[in-house]
């Protein structure tokens, strides 16, 4: 197939992950977390998203390298 969907997914989740992690870190202990039972949900969601995005990106890169290796064999 022409384009690997894991690239945009990985990229999108990594970007949102970074934003949330940084924002969560900066606003740590802020009043607004009374909403979320005093849990810094931004930080935790951000980290999870970042991990998921990273895994997706890695899978996409590995697949691309494999594809290139196969192409050069031919």
């Amino acid at each position: 197939m022409h384009a690997d969907i894991r690239f945009p997914i990985g990229l999108l989740f990594s970007i949102i992950g970074i934003i949330l992690t940084v924002y969560g870190f900066v606003t740590s202990g802020a009043e607004m977390y009374s909403h979320s039972l005093n849990i810094n949900i931004n930080l935790y969601s951000g980290i999870c998203l970042l991990i998921f995005g990273g895994v997706m990106l890695c899978m996409a890169i590995v697949a691309q390298k494999k594809q290139k290796a196969e192409d050069s064999k031919k």
């Binding site: 197939m1 022409h2 969907i5 945009p8 999108l12 934003i19 949330l20 039972l37 849990i39």
Partner: protein, 580 residues
């Protein structure tokens, strides 16, 4: 209800999502060279992608809003829509039916009917399907705009316009491939956006045991809390089968036979196995094996979607009965009844601080858009191939049909916007239309079952069977009412009421069961009385007994459709037993 405050960071996250969605469309644009690239993805997509798209396209407005509301109203019994409804039907589609859809030259479900039966059966299906998808996408748009209006205070017209333009741009540029790719992206976003809410809701209620405890209060005090006519056994909200013996012992008001036959068999198989909206995703897969695995792969995440969409509803009603530390409860409407419909969005607003809120709202937007795009791409294919190419302008160049596919995408979106305004203006018209669609859809699975597994079924038989099934559904609905019905749209419009069902859901299930049975019997009778017009040779690849068995090669045993099907069913069985 006060609007939810959203900050710059939330807007940023939503904007990034929009950029990616549109970006995917732009990247895929250069691959769209023929009408088949645009409308059927040129059969080129791997199974895991079509599998996720398969369930994501269904994870639209109705699922998120409807299932959340039902979770609150009926409790865990709502999971029957998944564990006895969708899952077995998806397995059946993958294992038994997909070979005929994918293996025949059909590009759409109506086209299969043309190859298997005749032109009139296809025409009936194509036209009713085309009209239905337009209105479905209109309703989806309406629901989204309404929600944004209530939740964020956005202008109704602006919401409709923006969502329509975004969906239009990415489906116009990249066709079905773009819709499918975006559905996968949207699927992950929906999961990522809803998990924090479920987690926080659960925590607020003191974990699952806290939810169970509170739901006991709901069941015992049902009249006071939900306005139900009676109270129920303490665990009625947390047991899916235990109280299905009689309609009066469970909040859904159904009994096990109506549930299994009406929902599990007729409605679910009818929807998941014959609705082109979902079948189209599997037909875009890159091989027969991938096409068959599409619904099976989709079935795994599908099983767990109740934890994202039904569980929040259950948590919400639990907290309404006995509030947690954060004081969440389902607000009341002006007439004192609970406002179930916005349960999930309200939880998003209540529990998520700025930041995660942006992610949650993005998930909501993603869900609405995937539902809408699914309808648009199914519409443009059926319109172009089954209506335009067949009845209006046959025999043109492929370029001509590619252009028509583009025009149909624009046209379909514009008409859906009209439908959204119709929904806003005349609530009853939408209820009425949905009712008609239910009548048309109910008998459909009988036609496909006979078509695929009985070579003697004829075109006349199929057509007359379908018509009489639809008519039966209408007549049954006209002669019965659910308990407490106020308006004729709920039934009884034929003047005399023959039977009163304990609930609307029971009435729906039985309407479907009657329609299916009549269609099944009439198709057989008429087929036996008419001559076959298709020879065994014509039906090769279309009927089970005339098609050579497929040998799976190059796939590990556990990845073969039959093995996957067994694993999926076993897992669904386990879920049913755990929450029995």
């Amino acid at each position: 209800m006060p609007h939810i405050e959203i900050g710059a960071i939330d807007y940023t996250i939503m904007a990034i999502y929009v950029v990616f969605v549109l970006g995917i469309g732009f990247v895929l644009r250069r691959y769209m060279k023929t009408s088949s690239d645009f409308l059927t993805s040129g059969k080129s997509i791997p199974a895991w992608i079509t599998g996720l798209a398969f369930i994501s396209t269904n994870l639209g407005a109705l699922e998120v809003i409807g299932m959340g509301a039902s979770g609150a109203k009926y409790g865990i019994a709502t999971c029957h829509f998944y564990w006895i409804g969708a899952i077995p039907a998806m397995v059946f589609l993958g294992v038994f039916m997909m070979p005929f859809y994918y293996g025949s030259k059909a590009r759409s479900v109506p086209e299969y009917l043309k190859l298997r039966f005749d032109e009139k059966t296809r025409g009936f299906n194509a036209i009713s399907f085309a009209v239905m998808t337009i209105f479905a996408s209109g309703i989806s748009m309406f629901a989204m705009a309404k929600l944004m209006q209530i939740l964020l205070g956005w202008d109704f017209t602006m919401s409709i316009f923006i969502s329509a333009v975004i969906v239009l741009v990415y489906t116009f540029l990249g066709g079905l491939t773009s819709a499918i790719y975006n559905e996968v992206l949207q699927f992950f976003l929906i999961v990522a956006g809803f998990i924090p809410v479920v987690f926080l809701g659960l925590k607020d209620a003191g974990g699952w045991s806290g939810v169970q405890q509170r739901l006991q209060e709901v069941a015992i005090n049902a009249p006071a809390i939900t306005g139900a006519a009676q109270s129920y056994a303490p665990d009625a909200w947390t047991k899916s089968w235990s109280y299905m013996g009689s309609p009066s012992s469970n909040p859904m008001g159904v009994e096990w036979f109506g549930l299994v036959m009406g929902l599990g068999f007729v409605l679910s198989f009818g929807y998941w196995c014959t609705n082109f909206l979902v079948v189209q995703r599997a037909m875009a897969a890159n091989s027969m094996s991938a096409a068959r695995r599409t619904p099976l792969i989709g079935a795994f995440p599908k099983m767990f979607i109740p934890f994202l969409v039904i569980l929040p509803g259950m948590i919400a009603i639990a907290l309404t009965a006995h509030s947690g530390t954060s004081g969440f409860s389902i607000p009341k409407l002006a007439d004192g009844t609970l406002d179930y419909n916005n349960t999930i969005p309200m939880m998003l607003g209540h529990y998520l601080p700025s930041g995660a809120l942006g992610l949650g709202l993005t998930a909501l937007m993603a869900s609405f858009m995937s539902g809408m795009a699914g309808n648009v791409t199914a519409f443009n294919t059926v319109w172009t191939y089954d209506i335009y190419q067949t009845y209006i302008k046959p025999g043109q160049s492929d370029k001509h049909y590619l252009r028509m596919g583009h025009i149909a995408t624009v046209f379909g979106t514009i008409v859906s916007m009209g439908a959204a305004y119709m929904a806003a203006g005349f609530n009853n018209i939408m209820d009425f239309l949905q009712l008609i669609f239910a009548f048309v859809n109910a008998p459909l699975f009988a036609t496909f079952l006979l078509g695929m597994f009985w070579k003697r079924a004829t075109g006349h038989g199929a057509f007359i069977g379908l018509l009489s099934g639809t008519l039966t559904a209408a007549i049954h609905h006209g002669l019965t009412i659910p308990a407490g019905a106020q308006s004729l749209i709920k039934g009884g419009w034929l003047g005399s009421v023959v039977h009163t069902y304990p609930s609307e859901m029971a009435q729906n299930f039985w309407t479907a069961t009657f329609a299916w049975t009549v269609c099944f019997v009439i198709t057989i009778l008429v087929s036996l009385a008419t001559h076959r017009t298709k020879t065994d040779d014509d039906l090769k690849g279309l009927v089970y007994s005339l098609t050579p068995r497929i040998k799976e090669t190059g796939v590990a045993w556990y990845a073969s459709p039959a093995a996957l099907g067994v694993i999926v069913l076993a897992a669904a069985l386990v879920l049913n037993i755990i929450f029995w």
